[in-house]
Amino acid sequence: MSGAAMRRAAVCVAGCLLAFSARADDDARAWIERMSESLATRNYDGLFTHSTGRQAETMRIVHRVDKGKSLERLVSLDGSGREIVRTSEEVHAYLPDRRVVIVEPRGDDGSLLKSLPTPGPALDRYYELAVGPQGSRLLGREVRVIDVRPKDIYRYGYRLWLDEETAMPLQSVVTNGIGNPIEVIRFTQLQMKDKIPARDIEPTVDATGFQWVRTGRKVAAMPQLPSNGGWRPLRLPPGFRLVASRLQPIPGSPMPAQHLIFSDGIAAISVFIEPGSQTGPRPPETSSMGSANAYSTSVHGHVVTAIGEVPAATVREIANSVVPVQGSDVPADSPASSAR
């Protein structure tokens, strides 16, 4: 692309971004659905950079659909060296820096409630969706810019550059409440393929001598627990609904954790309630990984952790509001047992 043409495009897009069309809401939703479908159903192999305020890393993603199942492998190429592989049954997270492999069963087969809501009509109560005009370009491809702006401070915003032809997100930026970017994912190379060989989904980390931490086994042998969880957060940002509830076995512990999943159609928040910590009382803890934040606190000798793609204040509020409900394992004479 010539220098002059690039400059023209830059000026045009910069101007156009100031005037997103209002009727674009439906269009934006359609684009997001197209994108989700592409991400889930197509075969592709690409390199992308993942940037946060701290550093930028190059990663590779290989996605393969086999017998209706989505398989993929992500690997950090020049940073942590970590690798995540989703096979048909499990998710393996290889952490060479810790010489550990974490194994989880795939959630799509274990949840007690049905699948996540796709962005439904209620979405625009919480997010403002807009799609930019045609004519933007990124890396030599025609793209549409989709804006997903949160209407309150409990959520993050997203800006997506979707390939016109495939709806693949060539670039995506997560923004905070004031619109500042906190995480950028940008493809530097992407190949859509007819076929991906099975070996491309195989891990490349040599895990010899690594510790395998499996949490997925022995679920059947767990003692009986109320299957819908004995805990509930009292406070949730508007629009977040319970979409799944399951038991998360904890290595080395006979009691599993409750795992509640809430979603507003765009972001998801998990709440884990784990039986009393043997390592002693834990003060409040906060951590963040890219655009995901986690907050842990203790409630009646249980450890409650909220984790999700939302601001730190949100997970903190939620974790702090978790209470046991009637009939759960909290003693009858404790103050909490009279909570709603």
């Binding site: 690039m6 495009a9 830059a10 897009v13 994108m35 991400l39 940037s51 305020g53 701290r54 550093q55 930028a56 890393e57 990663m59 993603i61 992500l74 950090s76 940073g79 942590s80 995540i84 998710v91 997270a93 952490l95 810790r98 550990v100 974490i102 989880e104 959630g107 949840s111 933007s136 997203y158 997100p169 995506s172 997560v174 905070n176 500042n180 970017p181 906190i182 995480e183 931490v213 999943i261 972001a267 998801a268 003060p283 409040p284 803890e285 906060t286 951590s287 963040s288 990984m289 890219g290 655009s291 995901a292 934040n293 952790t305 984790i307 999700g308 793609e309 601001p311 730190a312 204040a313």
Partner: protein, 191 residues
């Protein structure tokens, strides 16, 4: 004059040196170890910016490789001198740097690191904001068991992320070491 040569080195590293300038530069490089060192340093700068952390090559490394290859008489001669010296230094890695170790404020440097993004197709994005939790990172190091617990939660959670954000969640897991900080929640949220 030397500035011009080093500028060519810089362009060579970026793959932007015209071929006709390469010949002379290559001849110079072959003769001048300081130029080679500079080239290596420029490469290290890029590596550090893109992916900091992890082991780095000691200054003598490239010369060791050349010696092991037995490339040409001239460079072997130079290399073997360096090699002899570096072998003697081998047991004392501390000798690699001369400045005394200074206790550093890691938290400050983490918060201060900014990545400038400036794309031709959008208005300039001044800085990637460091989320509030980050500014307290490193104040206490998590035990491996805690990091692992959190990583396990992240993996379990990622299964339920919407497709739109799942890649963000998984890449965050790949990139970050889940840093756990101990913060009383009053201090928690700067905005």
């Amino acid at each position: 004059m030397t500035d011009q040569i080093r500028e060519q080195l810089s362009a060579l590293l970026d793959g932007e040196l015209p071929r006709d300038e390469m010949d002379l530069l290559m001849r110079r490089l072959e003769k001048d170890p300081e130029l080679r060192r500079t080239f290596g340093s420029y490469a290290l700068i890029g590596e550090t910016l893109r992916a900091p952390g992890g082991r780095v090559a000691p200054p003598s490394f490239a010369a060791r490789v050349t010696a092991a290859i037995g490339d040409s008489p001239a460079s072997v001669e130079k290399a073997s001198t360096t090699r002899a010296v570096s072998v003697a230094q081998q047991p004392q890695h501390v000798a690699l740097w001369k400045r005394p170790m200074v206790r550093t404020a890691l938290a400050a440097s983490v918060a201060a690191t900014a990545v400038l993004l400036f794309r031709p197709d959008v208005a300039p994005i001044a800085q990637l904001e460091v989320t509030p939790a980050n500014s307290f990172a490193m104040s206490a190091s998590p035990t491996p068991a805690q990091s692992q617990r959190l990583a396990g939660y992240m993996v379990a959670h990622s299964q339920f992320s919407t497709p739109m954000v799942r890649r963000n969640v998984l890449s965050s897991l790949l990139a970050a070491d889940p840093g756990i900080t101990r913060v009383s929640y009053e201090m928690g949220e700067a905005r």
